[in-house]
């Protein structure tokens, strides 16, 4: 009788453990980034920084200065340019990663093709009480533009740290499949904050 009771107890424990394994979140989800959600124009307040998306633009080409010569960057998709304003909360910090998550959850990292520009692009040093504008640039497929979410966090591995998740909302598509309002070329040679370089 006692042996049978022990066996039943063991089976119950196995069933409980299996149930927990199947139903509980994965460890990576438990210690993953903590989302702080908002939309374009909202001030999204995270743990170490706050951010407001000012505007979103789309372009077929980008023009940027590289060591004194003008460079035009083309793409097989479309350039999404997000102008944001950052501020730190309690202490100076660095915001270093952003990505673009499309409606089908395809996620595009911030482009590295503009890494030769060191001002106004990620990584951005931000200080408390001082608003700082920056441009986030993504190279995405045109169909991943509408109802997308821009994810911004201070570190690449934002374990248990807040991650701003800003929804872009619907974007109408024009007849050629590009987002409505896509311009041919966006000029990045002018500083984003209007201050001289």
């Amino acid at each position: 009788m006692r042996r049978l009771a022990n066996l039943v107890l063991l089976l119950v424990a196995v069933a409980l453990c299996y149930g927990l394994q199947m139903s509980k979140p994965h460890y990576a989800d438990l210690i993953g980034p903590i989302p702080v959600r908002g939309k374009v124009g909202d001030v999204v307040v995270g743990r170490s920084f706050e951010v407001r998306v000012e505007k979103v633009q789309f372009a077929r080409k980008l023009r940027a200065d590289r060591y004194g010569e003008t460079k035009v960057l083309t793409t097989g998709g479309v350039w999404a340019l997000v102008t944001v304003e950052f501020a730190a909360r309690d202490a100076s910090t660095v915001v270093s990663t952003a990505s673009w998550r499309g409606p089908t959850r395809l996620t595009y990292d911030h482009t590295e093709r503009l890494s030769f520009i060191n001002n106004g692009f990620l990584p951005v040093t931000v200080d408390p009480g001082l608003q700082k504008k920056a441009r986030l640039v993504f190279e995405v497929r045109p169909e991943e533009v509408g109802n997308a979410t821009v994810l911004i966090s201070s570190k690449l591995l934002a374990a248990l740290d807040s991650q701003a998740e800003i929804s872009i909302g619907p974007v109408a598509a024009s007849s050629d499949g590009m987002p409505a309002g896509t311009v041919d070329t966006l000029d990045l040679t002018q500083p984003v904050d209007g201050l001289p370089k």
Partner: protein
């Protein structure tokens, strides 16, 4: 000894050990938590400037093997090409080197400005002001090869909102002294 006695002995032994095991949990669970948390708590204390040591105006404090003194804190008003509502602030220190092993003692040297609300600003690279040749930053001083008795002139430049200039106080943290840091008081404090 009969089989019945043996079975009873076993049961008693089992009971005794079950009780001992339960009591042991009282010790083992807190012990496990302590062992698991040790590295995290150590990292929290060693990597952060948590507890302030106040230094009165005009006085120097022994910190990281050397004597630190705040010599000046001033705003560089009237500069152009800065974001509106901001002002560069210069913090000057005179440090008399005691133990010259700065590469170990001053590792992770961090000079900050802290305002009345506890907000912290780190040095900026957005403002570049000309300084005399003998002026160094905390990090460059680490590699200056300074010897015992040398006096280092350190200067850090910050960019802060104009409205906090009255309440900011300079602070210094170094790896060998964390979690403690120096918070320098001003003349009016």
């Amino acid at each position: 000894m009969t089989a019945q006695d043996l079975a009873q002995d076993n049961r008693l032994g089992e009971k005794k050990w079950r009780r001992r095991s339960l009591w042991a949990l009282l010790v083992l669970i807190p012990l496990t938590l302590a062992v698991e948390a040790y590295d995290s708590v150590k990292a929290l204390l060693v990597d952060n400037d948590l507890f302030e040591r106040r230094v009165a105006w005009g006085e120097s404090a022994h910190f990281g093997g050397s004597d630190w003194k705040l010599t000046d804190l001033r705003g560089a008003f009237g500069m152009k090409n800065l974001p509106p509502g901001t002002v560069p602030v210069l913090a000057d220190f005179a440090v008399t080197v005691g133990n010259p092993d700065l590469q170990n003692l001053w590792l992770g040297c961090k000079v900050m400005l802290i305002d009345a609300e506890g907000r912290r600003w780190l040095p900026t690279s957005a403002v570049r002001l000309n300084a005399p040749d003998n002026v160094q930053t905390c990090i460059s001083a680490i590699f200056s090869g300074a010897k015992t008795g040398d006096v280092l002139n350190l200067r850090e430049t910050f960019l802060v909102p104009k409205d906090v200039t009255n309440t900011i106080r300079p602070a210094v943290g170094v790896g060998s002294e964390r979690p403690y840091f120096l918070l320098f008081q001003m003349e009016k404090d």
